[in-house]
Symmetry: C2
Subunit: 516 residues, 2 copies
């Protein structure tokens, strides 16, 4: 009997009709049952007469399945065994406590994202290098685009396209691509656009994503899959609603059984000017309806946040909408939307000409700490000028910056949080000295058991000392954390009033742990 681990991907491949246009003309579905669940799953056509149904079992034990549809006159049945998950497989990521994230097995998921928009569209050697860089990094989520990307530093044609070439259907390639790129010198390139058939998918392109989503899954990295985006010259951003929906159903049928998939409906949705809010809501609802495993769903903005109150949205996938203040408002947004706050763009470490792509490693790390200490999650990206224009943010490749190591250190600190989650609270023991607004006071946090554990982060400030005042009958262990040098320095155990010396440098924190 075939077997698969719990939350692994089980696949049934069958031959069927291939005349006409099977993507549109044929259906295939599977019913999967064990004693705890019965799940109906849509399958998809994978070219040259082959059909496929994929399933992610949520329980261990024996399952039965039954595959049917117009793809074939036959009904296929079978059984398989689901084993315990291997080490590192914790299931899909879910929302817990309203605004935090955890794997389905209950392990807290401290999301530390990065972005390589077009890495799957690069050559195989570069893709392999990206995976190797990710393996050495702290990142456990990556954002990337299903459609190829045409934008600054990324104007080469991809190896594969998502649609078959042929007679243009379901799109007007000549009118599109002007969304975002009208200011690039792309007139010549636009003239070179091929015609694509919006009703026929190029399965080679999709298979590339099968492989890489699987590779990421095996590495314990969430695949935050961007379904639509505006960096386009081929017309993929301006398909008809019918074609978009055909595509979204196909993507859902194909990738939903990978436990590490997240659905990012769009990158910078507000630059996709041809789509309306009604379109987005319909697309979001469609994915919700079609995805049997209810993976996380969101939509990412450029200048204006989407209305994250919408029911189909599981978490806020935010890009800063202000240059100077953004992650510092994480707790405000959490209160507003009552969903996890995931900062998917807070500018990139680098030195390119654009303001969004030239912050320092120190500033990147500060933004991570400011997010995390307010209960949010942050995402990294890197845009260093490169002699071959290989920029991590777009192409993947190697990491050149200073922030990843420090983000790994932050991960370690996060993992030490008792109970797994920091909770907003007043910095109860920080001696009050008159000024009601003060940077560091905003980052005083306690755990569920208020006062057992607090991290006070001083960001770009550089106090030479801090005073605390504990109850006389309680003892606190104090550590100074150098978030840049990645050191935890034990200071001692204190009661009552105490003065803690600091080095008067930026990016320091103090951790208080109650001992009695």
């Amino acid at each position: 009997m075939r077997s698969v681990e719990r939350w692994g991907m089980f696949e049934v491949r069958l031959n069927g009709h291939w005349e006409g246009n099977p993507f549109v003309d044929r259906t295939i579905q599977g019913i999967f049952r064990n004693e705890k669940e019965e799940v109906t799953v849509e399958g998809f056509y994978d070219g040259v007469g082959e059909y496929c149904v994929r399933f992610m079992p949520s329980y261990t034990g024996e399952y039965q399945y039954e595959i049917s549809g117009t793809f074939s006159e036959e009904v296929s049945k079978g059984t398989f065994q689901v084993t315990e998950p291997a080490a590192g497989n914790h299931g899909p990521v879910r929302v817990v406590y309203g605004t935090r994230l955890a794997y389905e097995d209950g392990t807290p998921y401290n999301s530390l994202g990065t972005t390589c928009y077009a890495w799957v569209h690069q050559d195989v050697v570069l893709q392999r290098q990206t995976l190797s860089s990710l393996a050495d990094s702290p990142f456990n989520k990556i954002r990337f685009c299903f459609f190829p990307k045409f934008y600054l530093y990324n104007t080469r044609e991809p190896d594969t396209y998502p649609y078959e070439r042929g007679e243009s259907r379901g799109q007007d390639a000549r009118q599109q691509g002007m969304n975002i790129n009208m200011k690039l010198d792309v007139k010549d390139e636009i003239a070179d656009i091929r015609d694509f058939d919006g009703y026929r998918f190029n399965t080679e392109h999709f298979r590339k994503f099968d492989r890489q989503i699987k590779n990421l899954m095996d590495m314990g990295i969430e695949a935050d899959l961007i379904l639509l985006h505006p960096y386009d010259k081929w017309g993929f951003s301006t398909m008809s609603r019918e074609c978009d929906e055909l595509y979204l159903k196909y993507v859902t049928a194909r990738y939903a059984a990978y436990r590490n998939v997240w659905w990012s409906l769009a990158n910078e949705y507000d630059l996709l000017r041809q789509k309306t809010e009604e379109d987005w809501d319909a697309y979001g609802e469609l994915i919700r309806e079609k995805d049997p495993w209810q993976h996380l769903r969101s939509i990412h903005n450029c200048m204006v946040f989407y209305d994250y109150n919408k029911d189909w949205i599981t978490h806020c996938s935010m890009q800063r909408i202000d240059l100077y203040k953004h992650v510092e408002d994480t707790d405000i947004y959490e209160q507003k939307y009552k969903k996890p706050i995931v900062w998917d763009e807070i500018a990139y470490e680098g030195n390119i000409d654009m303001g969004w792509g030239n912050i320092t490693g120190k500033e990147m790390v500060r933004r991570f700490w400011e997010s995390v200490l307010r209960g949010g999650y942050a995402g990294h990206g890197e845009t260093y000028c490169h002699y071959q224009d290989i920029l991590w943010w777009s192409h993947g490749g190697k990491l050149h910056g200073k922030s990843p190591k420090r983000i790994a250190f932050l991960e370690k600190i996060m993992e030490e949080t008792p109970g797994g989650y920091l909770k907003r609270g007043e910095g109860a023991f920080d001696e009050l000295v008159g000024i009601p607004i003060d940077q560091e006071r905003k980052c005083g946090w306690g755990t569920e058991t208020h006062c057992d554990y607090e991290i006070h982060y001083y960001g770009f400030g550089r106090p030479a000392f801090r005073n605390f005042k504990f109850p006389e009958n309680e003892r606190y262990r104090i550590e100074v954390i150098d978030t840049w040098k990645m050191k935890v320095i034990p200071v001692g155990t204190f009661s009552g009033k105490c003065r803690i010396e600091l080095p008067g440098k930026q990016y320091m924190a103090i951790r208080l742990i109650r001992e009695s």
Copy 2:
């Protein structure tokens, strides 16, 4: 015949009645005339039977005066000659073009402020050191308090008090002082408060301010005199309305003839909880009515901006109300209030425990540039821990920080602006590449003749290059400015498209100067 330079201070001292309470019981006024003006000025009692009238002539040539009042049965008359102003005397500072500042002779006033709240309350040696530090600094405005200060790092008794000790009148010293300091351990100190007579001024205290306002005037430094403040344990912040008004009239009569005086009605007015908005407006109107020379008037906030639309307010004397974004909104506030934007607190360079007092020199200088390039003015302060608790921000003394030298460099750059004033404008030639919000684009400025002169400042970003696109028939001289290393690096002259290399460091700017 006595003589004084234009905008100098001419003083007439006369003896008169000294029995009873001359501060309340007696009047003295002077009428000063020349062919261009006739000004009526109130005088003041200066103790031991001496009365004084002060006058600032706005024109050159011969003046006559006539002094009368209940202080004496006699009327005194005289004449004096007003000569051309000496070098460095440009007259009082006025508002020009609605939102900018200039001296009365038309010279642009690029306000570069600093703050030493209690410097005049320190011993004479320290006061002398403060003046010497100011002489070596770029600062041309200083904020300081008339009343002594009781607050963090500043808890010693001053040498002199503004009121005579005696029976407590016009105040309730026992109830006050609790505004801001209730969280300091001051119970013992509060018990030590003396009783002051709110109807009798201590002229020795006022004479100290005569001397120092004059010293600042001679150095070309504006004296931004803070009339009320909450850092109090003696009761001076909670006097009755009658006493406050007596005090404000006295101060106006005494100091208005110094050309360098600005009236700052309060520091952190919103912490003076006993005063109402109606009080502040009445006090502002009183000063407006009593000051013959209409010096600049404002009021400074802690957490909430005052309503700067009020007619009596000449400019916005702002403290940041957000920790992360403040000077970056200078242009927005300018549009809102249509008055000069003077940032009188944007945190201090230093390393004390408080978040408002431990930013880096780099961040201080960035805040200056961000203000200035948006048409505003900024103020410095310094709070480094000191073994004797001598902190520039409060006591004056020596400057220890890294920002003053760079602020001097900024002053030089400002002085090179054609026409004297930067004007808001689009960075017309900065090649647009798709992202509508971008840090550097917010700081593209042109002069009155748009496109003749632009400074593009990149703040904490660190581009390795920038592209520009000029009209083919125009030539631009380009310079790279390192605002931290204080260097202007000529790059060359360009037409059409060009790429300007930058060092990929923070705090850089590019200057474009049209040559043809």
